[in-house]
Amino acid sequence: MDIDKDLVAASATPLILAIVAEGDTYGYAILKRVTELSGGQLQWTDGMLYPVLHRLERLGHIEGRWGASEIGRRRKYYGITQSGRAALANQRQQWQAVDAALRNIWFEIWSPRRRAPARAPSYS
C-alpha cells in the first residue's frame, strides 16, 4: 500500500518530533524507527528527511550537534527542546482530533448495525 504523499509529508513532523523526544538520535536511526513503527508501510525517500530536520532545527523544536558514530564517522545528533515538546503536544492533540473523527466515521460505516447510506440530497 502506498501512502499518499501529502499524508506522508503531514505526518513527518509529529513522527520526527516524537522519535527525537524518545532520546537523542540521528538521521538514519530516525528512518529505521519510522519503518519499525509503521511496520514498513511508511516509506520516506531518505534524502527528504534532512530538509525536514533542518526546518525543525530552525524553528527551534530540535537541536543538532555534531558528534561521532561508533566507528568515528562525523554524525549529527538531534535532541528535542522545550519548544519541541510543546509543538509535539500540540501536534498530538491535532492528530488525536483527526484520528477520533475518522474513527467515529469508520465505526458508523462499517459497524454491524450499519444504517442505510445517506442519499444524496436533492434540491427539487
Partner: protein
C-alpha cells in the same frame, strides 16, 4: 558483523556522489556529511543483511532519492543560502580554505589600518589636514600612501617575485619624489614638500593625474607578473570597475555613519568635529580602498559583476541622449564654444570609454554580434562626432586663449581618449561586419592602458617645472 573495512571499496563511488551533491548551491558540506553518514549507515545495514557492497551502495543511493529532488528540498528549506553565498570568504567547511580566508581577512584589515595610520603620520610632524597648503599636501600624497599598500596586498596575494616588486617599490619612490617636488627643492629654493605656489593650477592637475599613473603600478602587481597577458589586463579592468562601485557603496554607508555619529554627539552637547574630520572620515576613506579591493577579490566568482550590469542599463540611455544632443546641435548650427567647455567633452569621452570598456569586459568573446553591438557602435560614433565638433571649434581659438596648464592638460587628455575611441570604433565596426575577431578589440583596449598612465606621468612630471610650479 559489518567491519568498516568491507565498506572501504565504496570510498571512491561515495566520494564521487559527495562531489556531485556538493556542487549544488543549496547543499553545504555539513549537509553532505550528514547525508553521507546516512548512506554509509544504510549500506552497512544492507551488507549486514547479506548484500554485496556494490549492490548495497546502489540500493542505498536509490533510497536516498534523486539529487535534483534532494537539492530542491534543501532549496525550499534553505532558500537563504542562494543569497548567503554572497558572504565574504571562501565558502565551504574545508577547514584549510577557511583558515586561509580568515588569514587573508586579517591581513587586509591590518593593511587597511596601516594605510589609515600612515595617512595620519604627517600630523605627527605638525602637518595638519585642513590648513591651506597642507590639505593640498595630503591630496597629493593620498594615492602615494594607499596604492603602495594596495600593491603590497597583491604582491603578497599573488606571490610576486622579488625582482618585480623591487621595481614597483622603486616606481612609487620616484613618484613620491616628483609629487613632492623634492628634486626642485634641491636645485632651487623652495619649502620642502611644498614646492607649489599658492593657488598653483599645476597642483590640482598633479592631484588628478598622479592616481591614474600610479594605478598602472597597482595593475602590474594585480597581474602578478603576467601583465602582458590580454586576459589578465582585462581582469584588471573588471577589478577596477568593481572596486569603484564597492567604494561608492562603502562611501554611502560611511556617510550615513558619519551623519549619525555627528547627530548623536550633538545631542549630548559634544562637538564631534575632531573625531569625524580628523579620524573617522579620512581613515575610513583610505582604509576602504583596501577593504573594497579585498571584497572584489573575494566575491569575483560569487556575485554578478555590477559594472557590466550598470553599463547595459546606461549605454542605450546615454546613446539616445548623445544622438539627441547631436541633432540639437545640427539644428542650431554648430556650437558656440566657451573656453572651459572642453572639460565637459573630456568627461563625455571618459564616460563613453567606461561604458564601452565594461560592455566589452562582460561580453562573451566567442559570441557573434547582436543588437547591443550596434548600440555600442552608435555610442562610439556619436561621441566621436560630438567631440570632433568641440575640438574643431576650440582649436581655432586655442592660440587666441593661450596655453595654460589646465587647457593643455584637458586638450591632451581629450586627444588620448579620442585616439582610443576612434580606433575602437573602427575595430568594432570591423568586428560587427565580421572582418575581425572580438579579440582585436580587447587587445587594443588592454594595449592602450599604459598610454593613459604615460600621459598622466607627463602631467605629473613635466607640467609643474614647465609652468614654474604655478
Amino acid at each position: 558483523m559489518t567491519q568498516p573495512d568491507t565498506i572501504n571499496p565504496l570510498d571512491a563511488p561515495i566520494g564521487q556522489w559527495r562531489e556531485y551533491l556538493r556542487r549544488r548551491r543549496t547543499i553545504q558540506s555539513g549537509d553532505v556529511d550528514e547525508l553521507e553518514d546516512h548512506l554509509r549507515g544504510h549500506i552497512a545495514a544492507l551488507v549486514g543483511a547479506g548484500l554485496a557492497a556494490d549492490e548495497a551502495f546502489l540500493v542505498a543511493i536509490k533510497r536516498m532519492g534523486a539529487q535534483d529532488a534532494i537539492a530542491n528540498e534543501f532549496a525550499r528549506e534553505h532558500s537563504d543560502r542562494l543569497w548567503k553565498q554572497l558572504i565574504v570568504g571562501p565558502e565551504g567547511a574545508e577547514a584549510k580554505r577557511d583558515a586561509a580566508g580568515r588569514r587573508e581577512a586579517f591581513v587586509v584589515f591590518g593593511l587597511a589600518a596601516a594605510a589609515a595610520l600612515a595617512f595620519k603620520v604627517p600630523a605627527l610632524f605638525g602637518i595638519g589636514m585642513y590648513e591651506d597648503p597642507e590639505v593640498m599636501f595630503h591630496l597629493r600624497n593620498v594615492s602615494l600612501i594607499v596604492f603602495p599598500i594596495l600593491t603590497g596586498y597583491f604582491v603578497w596575494k599573488r606571490g610576486v617575485d622579488r625582482r618585480l616588486w623591487v621595481w614597483l617599490a622603486a616606481s612609487f619612490g620616484v613618484a613620491a619624489v616628483f609629487a613632492n617636488g623634492m628634486l626642485i627643492c634641491v636645485i632651487s629654493e623652495c619649502r620642502p614638500l611644498f614646492p607649489f605656489a599658492a593657488g598653483a593650477s599645476t597642483e590640482p592637475l598633479l592631484i588628478l593625474h598622479l592616481p591614474i599613473a600610479l594605478w598602472l603600478i597597482v595593475g602590474i602587481a594585480y597581474a602578478g607578473g603576467r601583465w602582458n597577458d590580454t586576459a589578465v589586463r582585462m581582469n584588471f579592468i573588471r577589478f577596477s570597475g568593481e572596486l569603484f562601485i564597492y567604494y561608492v557603496l562603502m562611501a554611502l554607508g560611511g556617510g550615513l555613519v558619519t551623519a549619525l555619529t555627528a547627530g548623536m554627539f550633538q545631542a549630548i552637547g559634544v562637538s564631534p568635529e575632531t573625531l569625524l574630520a580628523e579620524w573617522l572620515v579620512p581613515c575610513g576613506a583610505v582604509g576602504a580602498v583596501l577593504v573594497g579591493a579585498w571584497l572584489v577579490e573575494a566575491k569575483q566568482s560569487v556575485i554578478e559583476n555590477m559594472a557590466p550590469v550598470l553599463t547595459r542599463l546606461f549605454t542605450p540611455v546615454f546613446t539616445a541622449t548623445l544622438i539627441v544632443f547631436l541633432g540639437t546641435m545640427a539644428w542650431r548650427g554648430g556650437i558656440d564654444i566657451e573656453r572651459e567647455v572642453l572639460i565637459v567633452f573630456d568627461a563625455l569621452l571618459g564616460l563613453v570609454l567606461a561604458l564601452f570598456l565594461y560592455s566589452i569586459s562582460a561580453r562573451d568573446p566567442a559570441a557573434t554580434s547582436g543588437p547591443f553591438d550596434f548600440v555600442l557602435v552608435a555610442l562610439l560614433v556619436s561621441a566621436l562626432l560630438a567631440d570632433t565638433v568641440a575640438l574643431a571649434a576650440i582649436s581655432g581659438r586655442i592660440s587666441e586663449f593661450g596655453f595654460t596648464p589646465n587647457r593643455l592638460a584637458v586638450l591632451g587628455f581629450n586627444l588620448v581618449l579620442l585616439v582610443n575611441l576612434a580606433w575602437s570604433a573602427w575595430l568594432y565596426v570591423e568586428f560587427v561586419r565580421g572582418r575581425r575577431t572580438f579579440a582585436a578589440v580587447e587587445r587594443w583596449q588592454t594595449g592602450y592602458l599604459p598610454v593613459y598612465a604615460a600621459w598622466a606621468t607627463v602631467v605629473v612630471v613635466v607640467f609643474p617645472p614647465l609652468f614654474g610650479f604655478a
